[in-house]
């Protein structure tokens, strides 16, 4: 352990950055704080292994990313209690599996003024994401925020492939509908 390390400087330089990364993924301030603290502790204990091949910042991000995946892995037994039945009701499609009048996508008119670039958009996206069922949110997060593929996600969360595709599909349908209602077509 290097004594030149300055815990105060570290936490002040990187604390908020790591906290935001965690918050966007776990959406729970207590869990996010614990993950950040565990990340700093792990980094502190293993600083001698830090080779400087990547920046200190990216090294911390990599540790945090692993902590977040571990967190989801541990939480998965609780999360998978509420798994959907594969053939269950689907409010987005009618009996012939086509969009219903109420759920059919509308044109977002995301034209030249690019509303998706506005800062407020991300607040709406986060809010819509937080309304997903926890297991759907977790699957969506691992896939699109952390970039894992479906096989890795099934392993982490102990899901069957068919459960995975139902969950990711529903997560997207719900997110899309929520964004349309709260951002694009108010």
């Amino acid at each position: 352990m290097s004594t030149q390390l300055d815990a105060t400087k570290w936490v002040n330089d990187y604390g908020d950055m790591l906290y935001r990364y965690a918050m966007a993924r776990v959406n729970d301030s207590e869990i996010a704080k614990d993950l950040v603290q565990d990340t700093f502790l792990a980094a502190w204990r293993n600083y001698d292994n830090f080779k400087g091949e990547i920046s200190e910042k990216n090294w911390l991000y990599a540790i945090l990313k692993n902590k977040i995946i571990d967190h989801f892995r541990k939480a998965s037994t609780r999360l998978t209690d509420s798994l959907p039945t594969v053939a269950g009701d689907d409010p987005y499609f009618d009996d012939s599996q086509h969009w219903t009048a109420a759920t059919a996508p509308k044109d977002w008119n995301e034209g030249s003024d690019a509303p998706v670039m506005k800062k407020e958009f991300y607040g709406v996206l986060l809010n819509c994401k937080s309304k997903l069922k926890k297991i759907q949110d977790t699957v969506f997060t691992l896939k699109y925020l952390d970039g894992l593929d479906s096989e890795e996600i099934c392993k982490v969360l102990n899901l069957t492939t068919s459960n995975y595709w139902v969950l990711i599909h529903r997560a997207k349908l719900q997110l899309r509908a929520c964004l349309e209602k709260n951002w694009f077509i108010k």
């Binding site: 815990a7 966007a24 059919a104 977002w108 991300y122």
Partner: protein, 81 residues
């Protein structure tokens, strides 16, 4: 060979396509469907927007640790010394 798939299947195929998990037949079925279904074509476009923006989410997160939270973490790290 069945060419027409439902909207439910088509939207599902769109997610599988991201991982290269469609067979040649399924890819053709998806393109035939997107050619005639304006709703799924919108879904296809909007799905791209959503997943692109999702990967940037934390850059726009504004949450901050309080000073007390930071102090607690610093104290905890210093206990390791």
């Amino acid at each position: 060979m069945k060419w027409m798939i439902s909207c439910k299947e088509a939207t599902n195929f769109i997610s599988r396509k991201e991982e290269g998990k469609l067979s040649l037949k399924q890819r053709m079925q998806l393109w035939v469907h997107l050619g005639v279904c304006s709703f799924c074509k919108l879904f296809y476009k909007q799905n791209k927007i959503i997943i692109r923006q999702a990967s940037h989410l934390h850059e726009h997160e504004t949450a901050q640790l309080s000073n007390a939270d930071k102090e607690a973490i610093i104290t905890r790290i210093n206990e390791e010394l």
